[in-house]
Subunit: 208 residues, 2 copies
Amino acid sequence: MNAPARPGRARAESASASQEAVLLVALNCFVEQGFHGTSMRDIAARAGTSIAAIYYHFPSKAALLRAIMTRVTEDLLAVLEQARAGIGRREDAAALLAALVRAYVRFHTERREEAFVGNSELRSLQADDLTHVIALRDKVSAQFNDAIALGLEQGVLACDHPREAGLAVMTMCTAVANWYRPGGPATPEQIAERYATLALAMLGAGKS
Amino acid sequence: MNAPARPGRARAESASASQEAVLLVALNCFVEQGFHGTSMRDIAARAGTSIAAIYYHFPSKAALLRAIMTRVTEDLLAVLEQARAGIGRREDAAALLAALVRAYVRFHTERREEAFVGNSELRSLQADDLTHVIALRDKVSAQFNDAIALGLEQGVLACDHPREAGLAVMTMCTAVANWYRPGGPATPEQIAERYATLALAMLGAGKS
DNA sequence: CCCCTAACTGAACGTTCGTTCGGTAGTATC
DNA sequence: GATACTACCGAACGAACGTTCAGTTAGGGG
């Protein structure tokens, strides 16, 4: 019928080196020119293969974007859940929020290209892919908003208008992927630490 | 020779109603589908005119983007310079920074579609247009960074790593254009005020 | 040695793209 | 009432687009 091992579908369990290479080139193209500004010919040329070779591994151009976006969003959520799990029961919600910010910022520096595409190409996703990614992103937001709500309950955070504060924290951290460049004046760890401090200051940690 | 009054060129001094209508439709299309995801046929269809009618007013698709982006960036800079001019000599750099944040956030709510395109379609600009817009954006950044530097000098602001703090303030305010929707739970004025408070808290206003 | 399959290739398919062109209705000017 | 100019229109142009397809190569069983 169709391709024997359905190579385009088998993403979770087996991703061949060729598939990863194509995905990496596609990512670079999407970062530089955007999804709609990138042609399959661009990707094939930069990958040093033919257009048909890409179609052997992926069923469509949209599938390239889906693979990139679902992976980066799933990984981001996993990183945040790991950060939350790493917080002991002794520590308060301010420590939790700082850990979330640190993990989030580190992710956006270490995987800035994927994160950048993940944030800028939402509107290029097909409807069903978008639904999935949005659901994941909602869980990401919930991590931050829950931590803030908990901190207000505990009295370790203090801010009027937690909605705006949460948005401010998340968006300023997301934007790190827009300006960060490897080899810049600060390391990812330094930036993460500084952003955690900024976030805590903005949320009124250690005030009352 | 060419079109008599060079209508496509005359942007600053005279913009006809037709030109503005096309520009508005193009803006909506760019917001929803991106520059490369929008075709001239999309714009013509939504504007209720022909493709050729657009080409009568603008020399190319790129000119539509240029017109939108240069205008919004110039206006943003003007708004910030006005905000700075509105600060009396009695007031300190913290008040200046708060005024900048308020003006910047208000701009990004009231003109969120233009601001959104202005931030997301930089890479779709032609090289020479990009140079112009980047120069304007540098002046915008300088407004914030100068205010922060002045505040540190005066001792009314206190933060280690002003570079990251400045980036954090600007990016969180820029992102307002991504999530704000008219008719949301808070008015532009409220959001602007809250963001000014958040920025001052992040920059350690009134600490030492 | 033959066959099967994975992993491609080159050439095309039909469609859509940005752009151009010849023509025209309406209005103002002389 | 001829001329000029503005503001368009429908139809077409060549190029580029995403995608497909028949064919080919390399390598491992049987």
